[in-house]
Symmetry: D3
Subunit: 231 residues, 6 copies
């Protein structure tokens, strides 16, 4: 039995708080159950060196867990002098996923930075970051359109993400930490609202999975995306 | 006129949210007006090398601003590969101040880490961190006493902090960012509830102040401490 | 038309050179066409801190490109003072994939390090690293069994990897750099020789893919794995 | 009894050696008893990024202890890969204090760097650095006026610093290391020669102090400043 | 007796493989017995800051050992966050030595980077790097002349290097690791084909050598250089 | 003509100040003309990991230039986050040279650290560091013998160093910066007082030298060593 009698294909309680902080262009506090991530979007009127002079924009993402987001305090990366491999891997995934939402020629020479700071971690921080990060991106684009800093909407589609996994032989949607830590397989699915995949990452972490598992994972995620695209 | 018709000797609205996050031993979200700092306390049953074998404990503090806590996004320190000088200076101040609250022999061979993560900055983040950090410390000690991990209460006194300053010739309590950025002088006062000073730091940052200013600063802070020690 | 009249479902020419270097426990120079990766395995009779005293072993992987492996020289990471995000992401993938090959209780308190140094890059360096890294692992285990440093074989299965992608609407196996750089979608598939998935990573990098693409990708990879498991 | 029968309100023997080194614009070897700090001033005709195009100058300070300045050798920061928190805190204090001496519009687009290298430490290295740093600054300005690189003198006042503290209940001026290490309170006072405060930092480091102590500290520092402004 | 009945004044078997990799401007895999170094040359049409606007070029070298080049795996420098002292010292030597081959005015505003990556180490990696690095330089210059990117040949002479040493009282040429590790003295001699010295570095590493040793070292190196300049 | 009518084979004025600082085991301020280096020796009763349990000691050296030691201020290495290549190369040379003076079995499980801090640089800082470092070492050993921390004297010989070079075709001893910066060749010779070489490093830095130069360099250094071993 899952916590709170949750069904296998049921998301945890979702909560979106807009403007929890107000200095960024937009700010979304997203909660998937006990996982809380503060996602913000910031805009700069310049692009990285490799894009200079091409009339195209860019989006980059940064991810971080507060030291006490986890049950056992983790060391602060700024004190370690570098980001952990896990952090680097996750923020690259968030960036790639959200870049799929944008037409960079319509954006013009702007860089959007999505900051995802995990205040509390209970499984699924990367999928919460992508879903929350997309919402922050959407709000920021709305403001740029309102203030005429953008003429045309560069958003091509909505983006959202869910994790699915297999625990004791059962396929489960949106694993919390207690499930994730004993999962046989774990897959992150990132889709847009045109029923297209942005990225799929499935890993057995020492275990394996078969073709049917893959199809089941995709199947069970469908209702979740319907719900997430209503946000 | 100050924002919201605030009087010169009036604190901004104070708000304390307990257990905003739940994985640390204790967690306090403290707000001084628009300044929001998440303060948590974590405990480890070991001490730094320099204290080994002395039957004494230790307290250390870490401070960080989220990149979008400020009006203009600041770079993430974990990406820069080191903490800024400002961060280092502030977390040393928080640590020294809160160490004054504890009898380390009663604490025994434990290290308490106070994490102060600034979610939103509007002036006074270091004083909010000290006041909030003390409250997180107090809650953590309560839990250790309840669970009998501590026999005797190692807290010697309550600690709180306020900033005072001089703007356009007027002495003001608890400066927000709009006031702080044009202040002639800025002083952080850290006291305990026995009417003793823990630390005083007054700086003109390019300007100067006189003896009478110093006395005025201390005078105006008095009511604030009465109020803060009721938290 | 692909280079050298290669068919869509055809691997590039594979070449395996054993003992290209001789100081590690085993050494494999693997070539997928012009992609050349030197993969070695080293063994230490100790485990990372988090595994101490559990009678279990560990496997870790490191990946690096020589500066002139690429058409345009890339900066040396040891001079930059840190590994790039791309490097970190890839070496984590190699490590996770190869850990799926081992029964760590049978391995005992040993750490195996797989070093994958890319001498020349022409697309598919991560899949070449996994396939070559597995072969180096296999050779090292053989030696440990011969010298009786291991009593029982800890290998649970063979592991190999291929990349697949979609270029101009066609599904292609084993993309070279000229194909990869214009691919609409790119997927790395890591399998064992029991027809089980170890990891799947599919990314549109700004583009998207649909359900049918996913099934096509898996289909086209099948013959390649048959071939790779003969190595 | 203090060493050498020093009275409670007496400075240690002060010694100023000009031009101990000759490559910087100016060089002062300052000694407060056994504390020896080499302070130099260097000038560049450019300003930090944040000041570009404002016709204003800047002053920055760097502080460092030689490894064998202390009784027990301390590790070299360049080998540790970063400056210690203590170093960062002190050099920020020196910089803020000396910036109060200058009219940056009169200085124009120049950056002055004050280097304070502690050759031997016996307490009071930060106050010696400020007093010595000011003298190096004064000499450098004199040379710039002589060579007409500056038209008008940008110095607004002289700056000096002393430490005061309380040891065994007695208020003492200019603590040496043996006194500092057992002090109940320690305060650094930085003033200009117009009887104005530049910065005050008082800390109990685990102990506390009361209002009367604060007034006593300021009182006992007065004669010292009279003397220091004669340098 | 030396391995393979090698005579005291005999080089190990030399092997040069051109174009082992093909992305750099030129690539040489050089082998002195079991020592294998991949040397490549890359060209950029710009110069370091300190040479800007002088119509002169530059050459710089980088050296690295793969982790498993040595008998006992060495840690990867990119993971340590910095190059070892040994690496830094060697790459500075390679750079200085090869700069002696070039007329930088004829080269014009170009920077040549020589990368020396040690795939397998069996003594003499620095001399193999210099000799192989020179050959890569020569090939790169040939290509630049062919493509008319250079009008005149900037090479002033050929450069090569050998190590000599004294083991059990005997003077030996081209020490392998088993000899080097017990050598009393070790000298690296770098010469050009005009019988001029580029650099000499002789070190006893805790032992000493006398005048006659120095003369013997130079004498025994002569035949080697004759041979190396035929490469 | 050399400055101060110095002859080609004449050292600059040498000045040795003992106990310029007093916290290290020994301290020597050595001056070769305007080059001033503070050399100290510190002792710890432990050895590096690679020597544990062998009843042998070790000596290590660290070298650093103060930022204003040079005519143009150089950046502080602790702020850059790493030591420069030049610094690393020099401190390795100092360490190797001074290790030749010691019988490490007689020293026992102790580590001696020689710190060479260049207060002012006018050419020849590495040779001044070695000569001064040796003197600091000698004084430290004397103290250890006096206090019976050592029973037998582990010093095998005296060590000193000089630089020689060729400027406008003339062979010169002990080059100052004005000579060094235009030298065709530059050689550092390190010897002991038994007429044995410890290390020789000759470099043309883009230029070359011939056999006769080498013999001349050694010849001209002879008188200097006679003088240096009287220190």
């Amino acid at each position: 039995m899952r916590k709170n009698n949750r069904k296998n294909n049921e998301l945890r309680e979702l909560k979106i708080t807009e403007n929890f902080t107000t200095n960024a262009m937009s700010s979304i506090l997203i909660e998937y159950g006990n996982t809380k991530v503060l996602c913000t979007a910031s805009i700069e009127n310049k692009v990285p060196l490799f894009l200079k002079g091409q009339n195209r924009g860019w989006l980059t993402a940064e991810y971080q867990m507060l030291p006490t987001a986890t049950e056992k305090r983790t060391k602060r990366e700024s004190q370690q002098g570098k980001q952990s491999g896990r952090t680097v891997e996750i923020q690259r995934l968030i960036g790639r996923s959200l870049r799929a939402a944008l037409d960079f020629e319509l954006l013009g020479e702007k860089t959007i930075t999505i900051d995802c700071d995990v205040l509390q971690a209970d499984g699924g921080t990367r999928t919460a970051s992508i879903t929350g990060g997309y919402l922050a991106l959407e709000k920021a684009i709305e403001k740029l359109l309102e203030t005429k800093e953008l003429e045309k909407n560069p958003l091509k589609s909505k983006i959202a993400a869910v994790s699915v996994g297999k625990v004791n032989g059962e396929v489960l949607l949106d694993l919390d930490y207690s499930e994730d830590s004993i999962a046989e397989v774990d897959m992150n699915i990132i889709m847009n609202n045109k029923n297209e995949f942005i990225e799929i990452q499935g890993t057995g972490e020492g275990k394996t999975f078969v073709y049917k598992d893959l199809l089941d994972f995709i199947e069970i995620s469908k209702n979740a995306f319907d719900l997430l695209f209503l946000l």
